[in-house]
Symmetry: C2
Subunit: 562 residues, 2 copies
């Protein structure tokens, strides 16, 4: 059996190595267009920023590894330029020699990835405009940043013998994962960075009010945020520096521009082979990673996958799923019955001292799908016991099904303990947890690491209070003409208060029930909604109509920034 694998990075490399483990006899040819296989593309922004110093650190496994350890015919700088699915052959062009050879396959695996989008805008090909996909891309960016730049662009730095002018202004176009990682890393290198994003938020998979928190970290670190403004073109000024022109007519000067608008599944080969393409533009595969042609498999960023929370097809260009898919394709080719379970879009991104992470469905997505059977809560617990030094506030949004309590999604931001919580939520979603299960979870606790009630438990308890009817909930965008009751203490109100809200501190509430209306719905406010919950319980049991405003003043500041 001869298997040809097109693309030697995450999905392709995982497939090749797994297939060899399962089948010592198979003839395996792995063809990679670029100069490297199995490199750490997720590390590229950090190599540009300098946290990962050496380029060689990014090379997880080399051509030699594949040849020697796995007996795989691994060819870099070789590109599959043609497919005949009828004859089961591919044309492989060797970029070093220009030679094109024909290779026969029994099974073909496509792992071409997704290419950074480069819209055909005026000036898009000017020098100094980069994408971030490959090791050579990162190298070019580093070289551009390290070398003296054009006049009018840069800061002088005395390096001993000569004055070198280095680029000092960057524009990053696109506020997704790669865009944000590049922003952070360029700031880390000392550049002034402007982030231009067409949408009204960074990090599109997040809900916008959570994105607000990410944006605050950007602004705190001096990043100029230009939301709601697309790029219209690029031009070179007289002194050689770049200008980024936006739809709104602004001009942003730049010594370097990073394009991180998004990626597009590479489907040229798939189309050439007549394979089915999905509605989202990715290669359509079944649970076993088989395309519409039973001898051709596809994995990684080029394929559409099922989001198992929403049941929708999605393009989710993440490394974890790509690797899993590669192994599953290998299993199936080797005669096993493995199946890809779909994806839940778990992701995390470092934002300077903070991390933002997400798993499952967002409110935005559920709303788009017309789903109305969900509720959301906001909470702001400490990352670990508040009495132990270093505790940081986490901002958590949790989505769950109203009808049965099933956990649908979570978004977590904070400076400590984010991975711990998002992975608990991720495992919970995978296993079909309800919020009632989260209440009972036994997670690790010692003062430096958590709380006796972990934030994940706390999320379950708050959500369960809502579904059990113990705490009717409302949100800042639906307060209507409710009677606003603020149960905080007067010094807190002096800092920030809600116009029109009546203040009765929680300890005084039982004695002052007579001051509250019985004919209007009372909406209770405190800092984080905890004391408001206690107040809600008192009022409910005294016959008032009452709801707690989720997340209190803390969520107000997120939502009001919208």
């Amino acid at each position: 059996m001869k298997v040809i694998i097109v693309g030697g990075v995450a999905g392709g490399a995982s497939c090749a190595a797994r297939l060899r483990r399962l089948d010592e006899k198979a003839e395996i040819l792995m063809v990679e267009r670029g100069p490297y296989v199995s490199y750490a593309n997720c590390g590229l922004p950090y190599h540009v920023g300098g946290s990962i110093e050496k380029e060689s650190s990014l090379l997880v496994a080399t051509e030699q590894t594949f040849r020697e350890q796995f007996a795989i015919d691994c060819r870099t700088r070789c590109e599959v330029v043609g497919i005949s699915s009828k004859e089961k052959t591919v044309q492989v062009k060797n970029h070093a020699t220009g030679e094109v050879t024909t290779e026969r396959y029994d099974k073909l695996v496509l792992s071409p990835g997704a290419a950074p989008i480069r819209p055909p805008l005026p000036g898009i090909d000017l020098p100094g405009i980069f994408s971030v996909r490959t090791v050579p891309d990162a190298r070019s960016i580093r070289e551009w940043l390290d070398r003296g730049a054009a006049d009018g662009c840069g800061m002088n730095s005395y390096t001993g013998f000569q004055t070198v002018t280095k680029p000092n202004r960057a524009v990053v176009v696109g506020g997704g994962f790669i865009g944000l990682e590049m922003v952070e890393n360029l700031v880390h290198r000392g550049l002034e960075v402007t982030l231009v994003e067409k949408l009204n938020q960074v990090m599109p998979p997040l809900d916008p009010e959570m994105a607000r928190l990410v944006e605050r970290y950007m602004v705190k670190h001096g990043v100029r945020l230009e939301l709601n403004d697309g790029v219209a073109g690029f031009q070179q000024s007289a002194d050689g520096s770049l200008e980024v022109l936006t739809s709104s007519g602004k001009k942003h000067p730049a010594c370097i521009v990073i394009l991180a608008i998004g990626v597009r599944a590479e489907t040229a080969l798939a189309k050439m082979a007549g394979l089915e393409i999905g509605q989202r533009g990715g290669i359509r595969v079944d649970e076993q990673m088989r395309t519409s042609n039973p001898d051709i498999f596809a994995v990684g960023d080029a394929v559409e996958v099922k989001d198992f929370v929403t049941g929708q097809w999605a393009l989710i260009p993440l490394a974890g799923p790509a690797n899993r898919q590669g192994r599953i394709a290998a299993d199936v080719i080797a005669g096993r019955n493995s199946r890809f379970r779909g994806t839940q879009g778990t992701s995390i991104c470092q934002i300077f001292e903070a991390a933002i992470a997400q798993t499952g469905a967002s409110e935005k997505l559920l709303t788009q799908l017309g789903d109305k059977d969900f509720e959301k809560i906001y909470l702001y617990p400490n990352s670990h016991a508040g009495y132990y030094p270093g505790a940081k506030m986490l901002a958590i949004k949790v989505l769950f099904r109203k009808s049965d309590g099933r956990l649908l999604g979570a978004q977590v931001l904070g400076e400590d303990g984010v991975p711990k919580r998002i992975d608990s939520f991720a495992m919970a979603i995978q296993m079909g947890c309800t919020i009632y299960d989260l209440e009972e979870s036994e997670l690790c606790y010692a003062p430096p690491y958590g709380s006796a009630k972990d934030p994940v438990n706390f999320a379950g308890m708050v959500a369960a209070d809502v579904l059990r009817g113990d705490m009717p909930l409302c949100h800042w965008n639906s307060v209507g003409n409710g009677f606003l009751l603020d149960v905080r203490n007067p010094p807190e109100l002096a800092v920030e208060s809600v116009p029109g809200a009546v203040n009765i501190p929680l300890p005084a509430l039982r004695a002052r029930l007579g001051e509250l209306p019985r004919d209007r719905e009372i909406l209770v406010i405190c800092r984080s909604a905890q004391r408001a919950y206690y107040a809600t319980r008192i009022l409910l049991q005294n016959g008032f109509k009452v709801r707690n405003i989720s997340g209190g003043m803390l969520s107000r500041s997120m939502l009001m920034a919208n």
Copy 2:
């Protein structure tokens, strides 16, 4: 309805607050023997060590909070000294006045906790010997450490105007959680610390080979470890300093002794009320925290709970379960149908720069129970992508059922990323995950936080390789007379090698199969068992009888230290 709650810390305080939320009208009396309610007993060692500077930080909620926010009659320094379950009354003694009053209850909740064991050894009452249970305990220890100690015991420190001699030698008796936390905090304060432990390992819930790693951190930080040696008594030397005498006849000088031998469920009141006591010496309760008397509930460290992994009754003195039990008792008293699901013993402990964590069953426990339907694996993955700075090796042991792959337990030690992994395992065990589920988990990955194959996925993959028969496994303690094949590279062998093992580096293996015996079982070794896995696959498919030694050289160093 009048509810009396005996004990105002974790379980009792949770019960009281929850009950008030559910029932505005109930009369709630919470009686606490000590001066404080709802204090952070988990923080006491860190207050002694100074990381938590102020005693007031430990007081999570005060008597006043309970009175004002929760309208609870909260009485500190009051002790329940008698129960008549027939008359449904308790005798409450006010330690301030000496007065004893009788209080009637409809429902009674016992949350007396567990008391540090103080065996009746010679000299046990000498000054300078402390337990760590309450805020006053911590205060006494701090005062003892801060004040000038007896002659012959201490280091001189010049504090400006006078020379103060402070204690400089401590003996901690008992290597469980509190013992280890006290060791760390005393080292942090600059004391020379000796840890005396009767068993052959610290941290008894761990398997001994994992405890070895904890012990290495102790030794690295200068702690004198005295395992397999119990305390026989204490004496005061002529200069006033203490000596700890051990069963083996050793004498350890000490300026302060911390007793952390373990705790004993406080059952005096329960016995007085004629309640059923379990075989392990804790109060027996049902899933609703009801004792053998339907009007009396019990929660927290004093009760026996079901370990839901093994189905055994256990005493698990942890804060998380205590709080959950308190809330459940309140629910049931308020007429709800809540049930405690049991415990899985999830715990974590800081060991200087490392953390050790555990969830589910240990090998030791399974073996004690005569369970043979389990397998174990060891793995040593990086805490995050190896190419990103700061990655640290994790040591992970995972236990799973051979017959169906169900995850039974996990132990994780490392200097980074431990809470993230143990909580994923904990959630997985709660939800009845198999190791096949772990393979497919979608956990968060970005270079600073994880890997595309997270250690949790990796654990699932290794275990699944075993159960699918792709990688027959053996362990260092059962190599028997197998043929040892080391597939590492020669420079690695120069550092450490296994006597009698034949070396064929992995890349040369396919060409040198002729050198291997076909009539003996081949046991493959490498550093962490990954290359050995590749070798195992090659050999299996070439008709050899072969097994991989789990965890390779890294687990050998743990197991050989046993």
